[in-house]
Structure formats: C-alpha cells, structure tokens
Amino acid sequence: MTANLRETAARLLAEGTVQLVLGWERGTLPLRTTPLFAREPGDAERLVYDPTCDHNLSGYLGRLKEERVALAARPCEARTLVEQVRENRIARDRVLAIGLPCSGMISRRALASRLADRVIREGRLAGDRLVVVGDGWQEEFPWVEVRDPACQGCRLPDPGIYWVAPEAPAPPEGDRFARLDARTALSPEQRREEFRQAAERCIACYACRQACPMCVCAECFADRTAPALLGPTADPSEAMLFHLVRAMHLAGRCVDCGACARACPVGVDLRHLHLALEREAAERFDHRPGVDPEARPLVGSFRPDDREEFIL
C-alpha cells in the first residue's frame, strides 16, 4: 500500500498535477507518524501508510497555499473532505483524494494500557502483528487488539469523493452507535460526574480543537476576549462549557475521526458527546455527516416533516 502511495505521489508531483501531497512519514518516537508535506517527487519516498497514521490530515487543507494538492485519504480524511467541500471551505477540484483502505488505527492509549504503561523503546508492525520492545522485554500480538475502540464500529459508506478509489472496498457498515448503547447503563448522575472528572483533568490547551479538522471558526468562542466568554478560573465548569459548546458546534459536522481524543495530552476523551449528537441527527433528521458533498447542513435546513416535538 505504501509503495502505491509513494508511486502515485511521486508521479503527481513530477507531472505537476499537484504542487503538494499531504501524507504521513515516520515519526520520531516508536509507533508514531507525523504529517508530511511532500513538495518534491523525491519527498514521496518518505511517505508511509499503516495503522499508526492517526492524524487527520484534512485539517491542514484549509491553510495550504498550493493551488492543487493530493491528499492521502483514509475514510476519515475522505469524510472530512466531504464536509469541508459541503461547507465551501475547500474547492472540490483543488484536492485529489488518494483513497486508502483502512481497518482502523492503533490507539496509543489502548496500547499503553495493555503494556501497563511500560516504556516502549521500539515498535514495529510486521503484517498484522505488532512488535513492541522495552527495557529487557518484548511483546508481540495482533495489532487489532489495541485498535482504537471507535474504529471498531466504523464502517464507511463510500463518500464518493475519491480521485483514486481505495484498493480494497470498505467493509460492510457496522453499528456506529453501539459504543453509546454501552453507556446507557450509566445514570445521568454518573454521566455528569464522569464529565465533571474529565473537565477537571482538562488543562484547556485546546489540542482537541486544534486537531479537529472541523473546528474551523476564525475566532473560537473560547478565545474571545471582548467579552471573554470563559472565565479565568480553573473551575471544571469552564471546561464543561467549552466541551459542550464545541460538541454543539460540531453537531452534524463531526465525522468521528477521533483526532480530538488522540491529541489530548492528559487523556480526555469526550467522543461520546459528539457521537450522541450524530445519532440524534441520524435518527431525527436522517442526517449523516461525511457522506454527501451536496447534503444540506443539519442546522440550516428545514423539511416540513422534520420532527419538532422538542420545540415547546
């Protein structure tokens, strides 16, 4: 897969079809990758693609100056691109999406937990197996055992935005909302307490917002200074407000790529908030983000048969 990607990227750059290919290259720590902005055909050799490529690259598209770019596109990039095109943030013909098959990403959090937080000195993928080496120990197991839990329910309907379709067709769609059902066992009080604890950990670095390819406001409400909407205290209510407003702003737009949770340096994962809103949108309004570039925006379209029993 990596070989094909490199070849396509090098060709596109050599031909001048695009001025930049956005992909991943090996990172500086074990099992980490980092975004690659390939501008010369020679750069394409550095491209890699495997389950450690966990940054959503589409988030960078909005800041690029290049006229035409190619995007290494897992389903997450493709779905994000659909939303960006739908919101007229990116001209569709400016981006050539090179489709990549995906069976999920390794979750660094799941991996750390499986290894009881032992320090990883080396890690590599050998086919479906993950090999990790520490100080005086080595373990090997199928990488899917540490797959991001959110990837497990991800089955992507073809977003139809690829320039080159993925080699392998997407597997049949699973139950995206199964993760939420597991939470119904929690009482509202328990959920609130869980949320409060997450907010207490939050250090307001906004890595979640910055990593989110759909957090695109020119000025985030959290950054407003005149007047400041968030207070100067470290009270958890500030972080709760931030994360709730962020969730509302992403309703019908979040493609559940998980960039927010992966970016968090202190282990806050609030993807269930976004997923819950995605389910509301799906069940009430038959709205599915990341599929149809022509779709009307969730908040901004009205149909006579919309359910509106919540409007008093």
Binding site: T225, A226, P227, A228
Partner: protein, 278 residues
C-alpha cells in the same frame, strides 16, 4: 509581597476629549495619603489601571511629575476594561499599581531642541514629557520646543484645552493639523508627515519624540531620516498587549526586550536592532 495588588484611587474629574467621546481623560488621586505622597514617576512611565471586578490595562501616565497630588490617564475606549472605565464617574474608585517601565530620556535631552510629533491619542504619553519640559523649573534646560500634532478630524483632537494653553506660550511652536477639516475648522489640513516635511526642523542638536498610529510613525521615520535625523535622535514609545506590567506574564516582548520593563520608550536606533514584531 504581592506585586499584583493595586492601590485604590478616586476619580476626581472625567474630561471628555474627542467629539465622539471615545477618548476621556481621568484625573485620579490615591485614596491613601501615604501612597499619594510616595508615588514617584517619570515622564513616559505607565501604570496598570484596574476597574475592580472587570479587569486591568496598562495605561501611560499623561500627567507630569511636576503636577503633584494627582495622576491623569487619557483612555481610548477599545476593550472591555476601557469601556467600563468610560462608564466611571467622579467619586468612583479605580485600582492603580506602578509606575512601570522606563521613561523618556529627559536628562540626555537637556540643552537640545525638542520636536514632539504626535498623532491621535499618541499625544497622551508625550504630554507628560511636554508638561515636564515646559515647567518653569525645567524650561531653561531645553532649547527650542516644537509640537506637531494631528488627528483624523477636528473632533478627534485630544487635549484641546491643553492645546489652547500651549498656543498662548511664546516659548513653544505648536502646529495642529487634521486629515480632514470640517465647516468650523480654521486650521491646517494635511497629514502629520506633510507638516513635518514643510516645517523641516533642523537635526543639529535636536531630538524628536514621536508617538501615533503605526502608519504615521512609518512615514514620520522616513521623513525624519530625509531631514537628517539619525536613529538615535528619534525617540518613541510603544504599546503592546500586557497583563502583569512587571516582566512575568510573558506577552509583551519584542525580541528579548520586554516592553513593560525595557520599554515602553525606545529610540529608533534600538528599534532597528529589534525584530519588527510590534
């Protein structure tokens, strides 16, 4: 030691400056006599002014140390804090801590001609030095003093009452100009740099002190250079977003200099050595 704790001060007078009242001058006196007597400052320094419960902002002291018993701040309504300050009335309390920053090099300027060039609210920090230089106790130490002051419109001129007093003096050349006049305006119309070129002050044994909007400063610096002023003969004062005012909060640096401590007064000579990030 809690260097963030302000002293309370009472507003004595609020003077609307501009026609739109977007600039007001506040005359304040410290509530406690020992603070009032102990507060010593130099022309060009600033203070952190608080509207308690709203916030704090760095504001240059526009009064002069030669004026005892009170401080004056000319404040343009821009953000939340300055808007709240504009709502304040005589008798209301403010918090004040300082003075902070360096000051105009008034000792080094002795024996020289002084040319003040200001635009809009930029006259506020210069006024402290102008008043200081014009004070009877100091006036003999300086040569010819001239002031070129401009604003967008007659209504945007600040310190009109002060301008009138300055105009009466025969030891001072005052030129006031506006970008656009109106029906009642009898004075000059034209940009500050145009007036500067026309008056063409001589650089020999002179120093200029300038403050105003960035675009004015840019052209003033070019014109001063053409007139033969060297960068060390040009003094300016900067503003940056600040919080603590004492070199800790980390936001007002230009290169390795903190505007709150190493500034706000810089010579053009110094500015040229610093990154153009202000």
């Amino acid at each position: 030691m809690n260097p963030y704790l302000p002293h309370l001060a009472v507003i004595q007078e609020v003077i609307p400056e501009t026609a739109s009242q977007d600039v007001k001058t506040f005359r304040v006196a410290f509530a406690e006599p020992e603070v009032r007597d102990g507060f010593r400052y130099e022309p060009g320094q600033f203070a952190e002014v608080s509207v308690i419960g709203v916030g704090e902002a760095p504001i240059s002291i526009t009064s002069s140390p030669t004026q005892e018993g009170y401080l004056e701040f000319a404040v343009k309504r821009a953000g939340v804090m300055t808007t709240a300050m504009h709502h304040a009335r005589p008798g209301d309390y403010l918090g004040i801590r300082g003075p902070y920053g360096n000051h105009f090099p008034y000792r080094e300027m002795e024996g020289k001609d002084v040319v003040f060039i200001a635009g809009g609210i930029g006259l506020a920090p210069l006024r402290s030095l102008i008043t200081f230089v014009l004070d009877p106790a100091n006036r003999d130490r300086y040569g010819a003093v001239s002031i070129i002051y401009g604003a967008r419109s007659p209504g945007d001129l600040v310190f009109k009452w002060e301008l009138e007093r300055w105009r009466q003096r025969d030891d001072l050349a005052l030129e006031v100009t506006v970008d656009r006049g109106d029906a009642s305006w009898q004075g000059r119309v034209g940009f500050v740099p145009q007036v500067l070129r026309e008056l063409a002050p001589r650089p020999e044994n002179a120093v200029t002190v300038t403050c105003g909007p960035p675009v004015m400063i840019k052209f003033v610096l070019q014109d001063l250079e053409k007139l033969g002023f060297t960068p060390d003969q040009v003094i300016t004062t900067l503003e940056m977003r600040m919080k603590c005012g004492i070199g800790k909060c980390g936001r007002c640096n230009i290169g390795s200099r903190y505007v709150c401590q190493d500034g706000p007064v810089f010579s053009y000579e110094q500015l040229r050595q610093m990154p153009a990030e202000y």
